[in-house]
Symmetry: C2
Subunit: 499 residues, 2 copies
């Protein structure tokens, strides 16, 4: 009895991140007969593939009455190409949303509940506002210790999980918020050179001027699939790959986008986010870099202590050995901010160049040392010496070159065509640096989209400067972007706090 509601697909090339969106003409017979209105959730079907999408209704001619406009995420979910025929109807209720409502109304969730919510989120059955509601409910009435554990477990189970034969799998995570804090390639090179197995997967930038994967990509290919990653590990013991192709805790990728948009970071969700990725990657020993500072992600000693304790409890429940290493988060680390500029800092440290940024070197050595001791490669108190020697005698640099080769061939980071030095407008002592505005400056110059773009810092906290002392150099691939960053810098001279 049901009329055939076939629609031809139009791939509109609209990037809506993970949210599946469909555009239909308001006056099409389907919208009328189904009583669809904008923001309804619609079940789309192409053969035996289905996707639930958020509807926006269209009243103009850019879409025909027999067409369904699909966002990128919707096209991917359905696996369709332009002009394929799909059907649409009201989406059946997503049962697990009842559990989210029950969380909102004050009931803690059990393991089974998270085990139903998270797979539905990963399958795209939640709209952005439904994901938001889940995240906010878990922040407004903080997750209990049990709930954090259940959430972590559900996030791990809803994705792929790498399993390794070796008993010790080393890993490293940075809580983030510090521009230029690009220690990962150095830590991996040192640890792998000493025989640790370290299959490091990293992310691209979401809101920062560069993620580790963006930086590493200027030095070697990073988009490895699981097979390629395993081959690199078998050969070199370490890698620095982009994790996105591996579906490790895919729920995290969806939740973190919304958390960024809302600018909320609840402790429980941060713990589940960090640990689910690492458990899925198969880590057994994990060092966590936690910069603490007024414009970093973790802003106080109290917040750092609480997060550290929470991480320890959940890691313990999953049998993972962790060491949290707090560090100074008051200013960027290294000189470069932006993929290629950071890569050059990394190379300078690995090659032992005399002009290598000492803060980056020191932080990388500290983290490598912590990991070596945690994994039993160095006796307590001996990690720093072992790491320093491995870096200074060239073994880490040699290992890094081999890793790059195994990942597909070493690359030379690109150089920006346009540069401009920003000088101090007055003399004094540099007493503060605003991490957030400096990150913004690098992004306006084109990072991470333009690999060579970003900011190269020439000063550190405590430096005495005079009028005209170079504070930083802007790097850009396009003249317009350079001008744009420059005008932002001129409007925000106080991102360098000189007094």
């Amino acid at each position: 009895m049901t009329p055939e509601h076939g629609l031809r697909t139009r791939l509109l090339g609209i990037d809506t991140h993970a949210e599946t969106v469909v555009f239909l003409r308001k006056d099409c017979s389907l919208c009328r007969s189904e009583g669809f209105t904008s923001h309804n959730r619609i079940l789309l079907s192409a053969g035996d593939r289905h996707a639930i999408a958020t509807l926006y209704q269209v009243e103009s001619e850019f879409l025909g009455c027999d067409e369904a406009g699909l966002s990128d995420a919707t096209g991917r979910a359905l696996g369709v190409k332009e002009g394929d025929v799909i059907t649409a109807r009201h989406a059946p209720p997503v049962e697990s949303l009842g559990l989210v409502r029950s969380r909102i109304y004050g009931h803690a969730l059990d393991e089974q509940a998270f085990g139903r919510i998270i797979p539905d989120i990963v399958a795209g059955r939640y709209s952005a506002i439904e994901v938001t509601s889940f995240i906010t409910a878990c922040a407004a009435k903080p997750l209990t210790g049990d709930e954090v554990r259940f959430l972590t477990r559900a996030m791990v189970d809803a994705g792929n999980r790498l399993r390794w034969d070796q008993p010790v799998i080393a890993d490293k995570h940075s809580v983030g918020g510090l521009p230029g804090n690009r220690t990962t390639p150095i830590v991996v090179a040192i640890c792998a050179a000493l025989g640790l197995v370290m299959p490091k997967t990293s992310s691209r930038a979401i809101t920062s001027p560069a993620g580790t994967a963006d930086t590493m990509e200027t030095l070697a290919p990073v988009a490895l699939d699981e097979l390629a990653l395993r081959a690199v590990i078998k050969q070199e013991g370490g890698c620095i790959a982009w994790g996105g192709a591996m579906r490790l805790s895919p729920a995290d990728d969806i939740l973190i986008r919304i958390e960024h948009a809302l600018d909320i970071d609840s402790e429980g969700q941060m713990i589940a986010s960090i640990l689910s990725k690492k458990i899925a990657a198969g880590a057994t020993h994990l060092v966590i870099d936690m910069p603490v500072g007024p414009t970093a992600k973790v802003r106080s000693i109290e917040a750092a202590a609480s997060l550290t304790a929470g991480l320890a409890v959940v890691a313990d429940a999953f049998g993972i050995h962790i060491k949290v290493m707090q560090g100074d988060g008051s200013q960027p680390i290294g000189r470069g901010i932006g993929p290629a500029l950071e890569a050059r800092d990394v190379l300078a440290v690995l090659k032992g160049q005399p002009d290598a940024p000492q803060d980056l070197r020191a932080r990388a050595l500290a983290l490598a040392s912590g990991l070596l001791e945690l994994c039993g490669k160095a006796d307590p108190g001996q990690g720093t010496t072992l790491a320093s020697v491995t870096l200074d005698d060239g073994r880490a640099w040699s290992k890094f070159q081999h890793i790059c080769a195994a990942q597909g061939g070493m690359r030379i980071p690109p150089q920006a065509r346009h540069t401009k030095i920003l000088a101090a407008g007055h003399g004094g002592v540099l007493e503060a640096l605003d991490n957030r505005r400096i990150a913004r400056l690098a992004k306006l110059a084109g990072a991470p989209y333009a690999k060579a773009a970003g900011v190269e810092l020439h000063v550190r906290l405590g430096d005495r400067v005079s009028t005209g002392t170079p504070l930083c150099t802007l790097h850009a691939e396009a003249e317009g972007e350079l001008a744009y960053a420059l005008s932002y810098a001129e409007a925000n001279p106080d991102m360098f706090g000189i007094t």
Copy 2:
């Protein structure tokens, strides 16, 4: 120094409800130089008009690199036409979001905080996920009594407020959830006939098969502006108008859309929603119809008692006299479900036709009686008699006709071209009716979009039926819609619980 980033507008005719959305090409120089990514919030400017919009990036040719595609809400907010030139840049941070985050993290909000959040929401400065976060935070950690009062005040202040010279302004609200519960036109006719001043503003359907404004529109024009509404009140003492043109508590329209999408109704927000609209409309005496039943909005006696108490406290704080009248919410009221079908029930009651639905008549009389007593037009216990007499002697019907004439001329509700009787598949007693699925059936038949469409019920709870007894008649304006509703009915025979 800033390059001129002019973009030509394309009005895409996309309905995103209240959320302002802008589409830009991912590869346009603006996205690159500003470092925009999808879901960023962008400040658009057309002369001295501004709007903050959510960005979706486009990678296909349907948009040019120098074009900005605008959703309907964005075009309205900027007041632009196709081809106008606008500029775009990163939106400045919305300060009041910090207050929302503080609510999420457990701090109650004061009057000033709500006074900053609500105007920002009304001005479109919040994205849908930011509004969601606010709503969820206020549900997960329920609003205190003070907060409900502050929220109500802020919602009233953020819109227009009607002021009347008369000391008593009567009003009526129904908590909703019952299909066909269309008492308002009858209550207004009775009360206005007895000299009460009752400037009733109603809403259109959001998720139901008909709102009071949809039903009334089949009987008279309802889209009155404030001037027209005042003229009707001056002449007739009562009206039944659509409130949407009047900007009464516009925040409510935005919040309620998201609450519907999430299917959450927290008590505090429900109180602020109901009362802010009524305070803004200038009501001094208010009767609230609260159907209670397993598939109605208020599902238990306990929930009804708590909501009633909360309404009383806040109404008292604003000096409004209210009377909450709980009623049976176990089945639809009247026969018709859908704009024109409900209008015919209303006419039958007003005209005193012998076949008029008695449940609708009884409920309307009860509410009118309550309002008459509350306003001092009838002594306690005498309201029902007064209301009945006014209905039975034709004064209410006469007043209703005059109101329709004053609103622009009485109309005859349309009749559907296609009908189909649904008959009982087996005999027994009708023991349950599913309000939600019956509402869905009416929507599939085309209501409220197709004014004549909907469901006409022929049975009531407790009726004994045999195989073949007509249960209801489907009404549709298009054959396809009739077939579609029919197939839903056939797949859901248990929406009529015959045992």
